[in-house]
């Protein structure tokens, strides 16, 4: 009965994630522990679970986004509401009627907040729970049939009633323990998140937190300790009144801004400390405000603080890394940190329109950004290019005639596809040494590549423009010839990117997608800025590579190992709703996510079993430039989370916000290429050095053999073992 299994599977995922989402996680072990904690008070736990089930079922039936439901996004607020009500009222049938209605209203309020806050790129956190439980608690006072529970008052009675003498004994043991108040209060604060006041609950939650994320655990302590110290300094005690009940606000805020919404770093840790007094102030103020209506503040301070902080961070112009906002959410502070830490470097071209150099062959940058002559202030992000000969001279003979200059009359091409926005083609070329300041830019073409992205080519030769305003031009199409018009004493090509369509618009810092610096050892640059005096040229893609790594959704690849040491795998190239591309191993469900822009292929991360051929392929082809440069060597680092857990890795997790000592290195070297008109044959030598600490993963040497426009074999050598994986049936 696959139908029922699928239903149960969905119910399991959506419910479990509803529990873990309270701690911004998707760790199932944590989820099971949290369920256990919620059932310390059976009726409360039941009310929570029922509330989640109702909300998720209705959400499914209403046709809300399934991924959101399965991720628990619609379940965690009803869960908290259910738990809260379950602990407050006796389990009568009238209560359950009430509970279902409240669960429904929590779902609706969740949707309202989602609509309201998502526009601003902000999370709705537990606001829906707050509103919902306040309304419910107030409303319940009108209903005579709802009886306030006594468990809060006669704790022992309730314990005996629900768990028998054993339960009472456990409870007493924890109660009598001579632990320092400081530690007891920490666990109580954690337990309070699930409306449990016992120590036992808190210890379970802490254990779950530690298992799911070391950084979150560390942050929970940081948030708690800084709150304790603040209360101490300000002259209040966290243990008094019901501060332990609201202590969790500090803990949740710490996890949220310390590692979940921001990449964990010393900056995010600093902010956790800095916002502590604010949380306390909010708590104090709202406790008083809500007192007349006898409502607790619950998680209001946490919600307000996180929202304020995240919103404020969006206004930053600079210091974007201190702390850095998480762009791709992996629901784990470790992953956010490890995958995010080199993402800035790895994904620098992501989302950018590839812009090439606007000429054929190799030219010299005679003036780069912030140049010494004219590239200053608003116009500082521009380039001037010339052609030089072997003696580094720009001209032949005496250089008195324009024709003597190597770049003069050379074709100028479109840097990217676009529409011709503006053309000037009538200004005379200056004699060598003279400048025309009145018509500063000379003959110029402005191309619109997209809204807010234009390129401008200036000082073109008079009458050389081959295109007209409004026409569409393709990347690499010849548009005009290099000349000497405008403010140009000798022939050169001026090139700049800008965000407005005018001749004379300020420049925009926008990188060149891929170019080769022609030097003793050529250097491949990706999404970078050519600098003054560099010899640069566009680099043609290597079709053998771009075909081989041009995985298309729908493709099936069979990977087999020559000596059958590894089981055959069938890989499917797939894409999800967000257009993320990945290769999935059919049998294990492991996924290797990849990104390619036609210039570079790289794996972004790996999910699933870290054994098998797909995992090895992920390590081997971690970053592949789709172009051939002889003796090219490339380095990159894998996120430490690419490897199976080890003691050192756990230690690394703890200190990761401050420093990374595990840096698994990926290296690539291009092998020999035999190019041919019918497609080249070449090999890539890559290696994976997990480095210190990951002793359970060997260092690998890989050789990827390409031919006939596809990957032929992947040879793997891990010291002890060597395999050859064959790639079959991929078309």
């Amino acid at each position: 009965m696959p139908g029922i299994i699928r239903l149960l599977n969905r119910a399991y995922h959506s419910s479990l994630n509803s529990y873990t989402m309270v701690f911004f996680s998707k760790n199932h072990l944590l989820g099971l522990l949290l369920i256990l904690v919620s059932f310390i008070d059976v009726w409360s736990g039941l009310a929570g679970l029922l509330s989640v089930a109702v909300a998720n079922a209705v959400a499914w039936g209403l046709g809300l986004n399934r991924k959101n439901i399965l991720s628990g996004f619609y379940g965690f607020n009803p869960l908290l509401t259910g738990l809260g009500l379950g602990i407050a009222f006796d389990p009568t049938w009238q209560f359950y009627l009430f509970l279902v209605a409240v669960a429904l209203s929590t779902l609706f309020i969740t949707l309202a907040f989602e609509g309201l806050l998502t526009k601003y790129g902000l999370p709705y956190l537990t606001f829906p729970f707050l509103i919902s439980i306040w309304i419910a608690v107030l409303a319940a006072r009108n209903y005579a049939s709802l009886i306030p529970a006594e468990s809060g008052i006669y704790t022992m009675n309730a314990m005996y009633e629900r768990g028998g003498p054993l339960m009472v004994r456990i409870y007493q043991w924890f109660g009598e323990m001579e632990w320092p108040l400081f530690i007891k209060t920490y666990f109580r604060s954690l337990g309070a998140i699930f409306f449990q006041s016992g120590l036992f609950a808190g210890i379970l939650v802490a254990a779950g937190l530690l298992i799911s994320s070391r950084i979150s655990f560390l942050l929970s302590i940081l948030g708690y300790v800084s709150a304790w110290l603040f209360y101490l300094l300000i002259g209040a005690s966290m243990n008094e009144l019901n501060y332990s009940f609201i202590g969790f606000n500090h803990i949740l805020t710490a996890i949220a801004i310390g590692g979940f919404f921001m990449v964990a770093s010393r900056w995010s840790f600093l902010w956790v400390i800095l916002v502590t007094p604010i949380i306390s102030i909010i708590t104090g103020a709202f406790t008083l405000l809500l007192e007349p209506v006898q409502l607790p503040v619950y998680s209001l301070p946490f919600n307000l603080m996180v929202l304020l902080f995240l919103y404020a961070m969006k206004f930053r112009d600079r210091m974007l890394l201190k702390p850095e906002a998480v762009v791709v959410q992996y629901y784990s502070p470790e992953k956010n940190l490890y995958i995010g830490s080199n993402a800035r470097e790895r994904f620098r071209g992501k989302g950018q329109l590839p812009v090439s150099l606007p000429f054929f062959g190799t030219w010299k940058v005679s003036q780069g950004h912030n140049g010494q002559h004219t590239h200053k202030e608003e116009w500082r992000h521009a380039w001037d290019f010339v052609v030089t000969d072997e003696q580094d001279r720009e001209f032949e003979g005496e250089g008195l005639a324009l024709r003597d200059y190597h770049c003069f009359d050379k074709p100028v091409t479109a840097p990217a596809d676009g529409w011709i926005e503006e053309v000037v083609d009538h200004i005379d070329d200056n004699p060598v040494g003279e400048v025309n300041i009145r018509q500063n830019w000379g003959n110029t073409i402005v191309i619109r590549h997209s809204e807010w992205l234009y390129s401008k080519l200036s000082h073109l030769k008079k009458g050389s423009v081959k295109t007209t305003q409004g026409s569409f031009v393709k990347k690499g199409q010849v548009l005009a010839a290099c000349g000497n018009s405008g403010r140009s004493p000798y022939p050169h090509l001026h090139f700049q990117m800008q965000s407005t369509p005018h001749i004379g618009s300020p420049t925009l810092p926008y990188p060149i997608d891929q170019y080769l610096i022609d030097a003793e050892t050529p250097v491949l640059k990706l999404y970078d800025f050519p600098e003054t005096d560099q010899m640069v040229g566009n680099l043609p893609g290597e079709p053998a590579l771009s075909h081989a790594f041009g995985f298309k959704p729908g493709q099936t690849i069979r990977a087999s190992e020559d000596e059958n040491k590894l089981a055959e795998e069938t890989w499917k190239v797939m894409t999800d709703m967000y257009k993320n591309l990945f290769i999935e191993d059919e049998s294990s469900g492991a996924r290797a996510y990849f990104v390619t822009d036609g210039r570079l292929f790289f794996f972004s991360h790996f999910e699933g079993r870290r054994i098998g051929m797909l995992y090895l392929f992920y390590l081997a082809a971690y970053k592949i430039p789709l172009t051939y440069v002889r003796n090219l060597s490339i380095r990159d680092t894998y996120p430490p989370s690419s490897f199976a857990a080890s003691p050192m890795l756990i230690l690394q997790d703890f200190v990761a916000p401050f420093f990374l000592f595990i840096r698994p290195v990926f290296k690539l070297e291009t092998g020999k290429r035999e190019d041919d008109l019918d497609g080249s044959t070449l090999s890539l030598h890559t290696s994976c050095e997990p480095g210190i600490g990951i002793w359970n993963a060997p260092s690998y040497r890989f050789r990827i053999q390409l031919g006939r426009n596809r990957i032929q074999t992947l040879e793997i050598n891990s010291g002890k073992n060597s395999f050859t994986i064959r790639f079959n049936d991929y078309a």
Partner: protein, 452 residues
């Protein structure tokens, strides 16, 4: 201290002030050194006459030519024309620079393989390929340029017996507006032969069409001819695309670029009148770029330039054997390098300079070679300083064709040396001896003894 050069007495008419029919008298400075090496020393070490090649010049001209094209067109490939100069050292300099090989005979094909050229980067041209050569080229995956229909039929036959499909292009001849029009090689464009041959190839299904090739002639003095040729090639490519949805991988524009040499009968020196690489490149790449091809599918442009790449890098060093006066009183000088070594003197007025400092006096001279043959004349009329037997002369721009078309007539071929980038000299072809001329002779028994 060296003894001063002896200048024999000389009577010349004073022609002060006014330029003559040939402009002002040109006085070229003596060429005492080549790439820093003293000419006299080279002759002393390697003998006279002597062929000298400059590696530095070869590389620098190659790079200049390549740059002229690569700054105008995205995909450019040179193929070194073996027939222009197939000394292995010379070929390998070009191969090191990245050039493929263009060969026109089985011998040249073998030579290219021996030089280590990837067989898939050998272009096999020429009208006279044998069946065996075609089989070998096919199996090696070389690019075979078909010259005539009979070769096409042979290749279809070959294709039936080989595992690989022959990779072919056809050679096309056409009217590019210049005289003479070369129509003996390949298929004609205007009368439809070329299109016909392409159809035969496409319909046969036995051959893998790779590209189109033309070679419009040699020493072409106008770049525009190439623009016309390229346009016609593009037309054929477009027709293939339209009819067969077939994209040619390359367009080979052949060779024929003029070098800096001056043709006989020219009014002005070749270095002033012959088009530069830039002009040829502009003509060809504009024609290709302004065609139906989109930037992404522009075909590879192959150039088989020979002469223009090597001519300037070659010198012949020679020595004066004797001076004499002809019947009409004209001065003549006999040197030890003749048309046997300087085949190109039949169509060029080679520049000749003296190799040592001399007086300001010059005399109109005829330069003869050492052969006992009336046609052995290097320059009919040249202004040279007075020379004594044993003086050295340098003949310029002799790199193309001379070491492949040189004649073995009554004497041996001399040493050929290469001066590398650091100024060091290398003997790259040893002078011949009696063995190299008569070694292969066989003497029937009854002719062995000529005395009773």
């Amino acid at each position: 201290m060296d003894k001063n050069h002896y200048d024999r007495p000389l009577i010349t008419r004073i022609e002060a002030g006014m330029p003559g029919k040939f402009g002002l008298r040109s006085e070229l400075p003596p060429t005492t050194h080549i790439d820093g090496q003293p000419v006299a020393e080279l002759i002393k070490t390697y003998g006279s006459p002597l062929f000298v090649f400059s590696e530095q010049t070869i590389r620098s001209i190659y790079r200049k030519a390549l740059k002229a094209f690569t700054t105008r067109y995205p995909k450019v490939q040179f193929a070194w024309s073996y027939k222009t100069n197939y000394l292995s050292s010379i070929c390998n300099i070009f191969h090191q620079e990245g050039a493929w090989a263009e060969v026109v005979s089985g011998f040249e094909y073998e030579k290219a393989l021996e030089n280590g050229v990837d067989p898939r980067k050998i272009i096999f041209n020429g009208p006279g390929k044998t069946h065996e050569e075609l089989v070998k080229a096919t199996e090696n995956g070389s690019l075979i340029h078909i010259d005539h229909l009979d070769e096409l039929y042979t290749l279809i036959e070959v294709a039936e017996s080989t595992e690989r499909k022959p990779r072919v292009a056809i050679r096309i001849n056409m009217d590019t507006g210049i005289y003479p029009m070369w129509d003996r090689f390949g298929f004609n464009y205007e009368n439809g032969q070329a299109w016909d041959a392409l159809n035969k190839i496409m319909y046969s299904g036995k051959l893998e069409l790779m590209g189109l090739h033309t070679h419009i002639g040699t020493f072409i003095m106008t770049a525009n001819a190439y623009a016309v040729a390229a346009t016609k090639m593009v037309e054929l490519a477009r027709a293939l695309k339209q009819k067969f949805n077939f994209q040619v991988k390359y367009i080979d524009m052949g060779g024929g670029f003029a070098s800096r040499n001056t043709l006989k009968g020219s009014y002005l020196p070749g270095s002033d009148t012959n088009p530069s690489f830039d002009e040829y490149a502009e003509a060809i790449s504009s024609a290709l770029i302004n065609s139906h091809f989109t930037p992404d599918d522009l075909p590879l442009l192959i150039l088989e330039t020979g002469r223009a790449l090597i001519d300037e890098a070659g010198y012949i060093l020679t020595s004066v054997i004797a001076n004499k006066r002809l019947s009409a009183g004209r001065r003549a000088t006999i040197v030890d390098a003749g048309v046997n070594l300087l085949f190109t003197s039949f169509w060029y007025q080679h520049q000749v300079t003296v190799a040592q400092g001399v007086s300001q006096y010059r005399e109109d001279t005829t330069l003869y070679g050492p052969l006992c043959m009336n046609i052995d004349c290097i320059r009919e009329s040249i202004n040279l300083p007075v020379l004594n037997p044993g003086d050295h002369l340098v003949i310029h721009h002799t790199g193309a064709y001379n070491v492949t078309q040189w004649m073995q007539f009554i004497t041996f071929r001399p040493n050929v040396i290469l001066i590398d980038g650091t100024g060091e000299t290398h003997l790259i072809r040893e002078k011949e001896g009696r063995e190299s001329v008569s070694g292969k002779e066989l003497l029937p028994g009854h002719l062995k003894n000529i005395r009773e």
